[in-house]
Amino acid sequence: MRENRREKVYIGIDVGSVSVNLAVIGEDCRLLKKRYIRTNGAPINAVKTALTESREELETLYTVAGAATTGSGRHLIGHLIGADEIKNEITAHAVAATHYYDDVSTVIEIGGQDSKIIIIENNVVVDFAMNTICAAGTGSFLDQQSQRLGIDIADFGDYALKSVLPTKIAGRCGVFAESDMIHKQQIGYQKHDIIAGLCFALVNNYLNNVGRGKKIRDKIVFQGGVAANRGIIKAFSETLGKKIYVAEHYDVMGAIGAALIAMKSRRGGDEKSRYKGAACFDSDISSDAFECGACSNACEIISVTKDGKRLFNIGGRCGRYDYKD
């Protein structure tokens, strides 16, 4: 009986290239909990950390009524934790943005490997674009440059704001940008002018590639990990000549969107959620890749095992190894 009195919550997990984000929302859409954990090349471990840390809270105070995953690792983690919905990150980000801002027209989202623009009219996505095949100008490139300059990424934006005269940096390609930055540093430019220059270069690159041909209208909401960078925010608002709204929970908007999607799909349904909870990490979970030899495509298949026993496979073009319930 007591179980029924616990508050129903919905979990969203955004399994991104650089971070894994967790959001827990209540029936009233309130954000009850958020976690931002660096992936460090091991998404399963990062999700395990996120869920194990919140385990007690989730299991004693709440009843998880639904769960959804998004992000580039959504299939792997979704199958593992028993997600009710596995959704692409465009939809997830749009759902979250429209939830917080009902008058949003443009969503700028810059994450670890992807950058996106989403155009919204009357709360409906009408157009979007993602960066093509190059990750220049996304979070991981900024990460790399901050390391090279010996500056904590958290201070990167403040450095940029110190600059009065940002120097010009070629932002078309990450490799060119780096050599351009090194050149400027060697001829005597100050670090903060170079960093501010990089911010403007990335913004221009974003607007010329991802934002090409898109109608960028107010209200503009900025989300994704890079929205922490005040230098980039400034560069956007100066270049566009418009106000940039940074979402309060900019770093976990994808996860919040996923949680909202989980709630929408589960609400009113009689079926029990498939969500397995942190318990699925009690055993030793590992993933391994192998090359399928059935045809000349030689697809790489990821095999996920639990205590040495195969749980499921993903990958491959033909579906031969596809996940089955």
């Binding site: 580039s72 299939h75 959704k87 692409n88 990150e89 465009i90 939809t91 409906v124 996505v125 009408v126 157009d127 979007f128 674009a129 993602m130 093509t132 095949i133 041909g213 045809c295 000349s296 495509n297 030689a298 697809c299 790489e300 073009r317």
Partner: protein, 320 residues
Amino acid sequence: MLDSSNVRLAVPRTLLYYRYFPLWQTFFNELGVEVETSAPSCAAILKSGSRYAHTDSCLPIKLAFGHVKSLFDGGSDYMFLPRFFRLENKSYVCPKVIGFTDMVRCCVYPEKPALKRGEGPYIIDNLFDVISHSNEKVFCDIGSKFSSSAPKIKRAYQRGIERHDFLIRKRTSIFKNEILRKFKLKIGVLGHPYNVHDGYINMGLLGELNRRDALGITYEDMPSDDFKCDFSKFPSGLFWSFGREIYRSALYFMSGLDFKADGIIYLAPFSCGLDSILVTLIQNEARERNVPFLNLVIDEHSAKAGVITRIEAFIDMLSH
């Protein structure tokens, strides 16, 4: 001239194969020539092709090299690699396609051009240029390698054309009368035929659409004569044959003549010069008509995740 009763001809499953294979197959079979094609594109073919192609080649050309290479040691007598130059007045085939025969000669064939049996299949490299010779004349020249009877060759060509026309009519009629009604969403898929119809290169785009209750409609589905397209706003009338096709089908998909596309997907390899211009051109036309547009860029990535994310998001958007 060889005894054509046991002559084998290799046709790489690439480039204009996707448009004309039924014609070619019928023509050669009528002359008693056995036609062998390469296997559908796969990772192994791309890997081998990338070794032979110049690094700045586009993805389909890299793949095309792989197809030729896979047929090279197959023991065929001939390799069918004609030069497609001008298929209609005032417009041209892409220069990489025109030059493909010569690139193959330089890169795949070890030393000199194969002239005798045993040096790799002999390349049939006749030039298709409708301005200097009719297609029929070119086919007659090709056919004379396999038969000395001019009427027989002519008949083989006629049969080939009939087959080609029959399949097009059949396809457009099935499309109009049956397939069009079966899916919730109708999506115009644009791109060169060797990208749109090669399921390996485009990560199974058409199938992925079908799985999501969406129909991918291609140039081949459109009725050939019903729809007129005005090219007069382009000073050069749009230079490239495939460009004309792509532009014309884009306008047809958005016309509402037989249907109105819910969205347009333009499938373009990263380094295609022609597509880079057309994408913008068609994106503008789509915006004017309020038709959602997605540009899918393909390259040598083997992971499907990026393409699937974009398709999924596009379908989600159209479903609302």
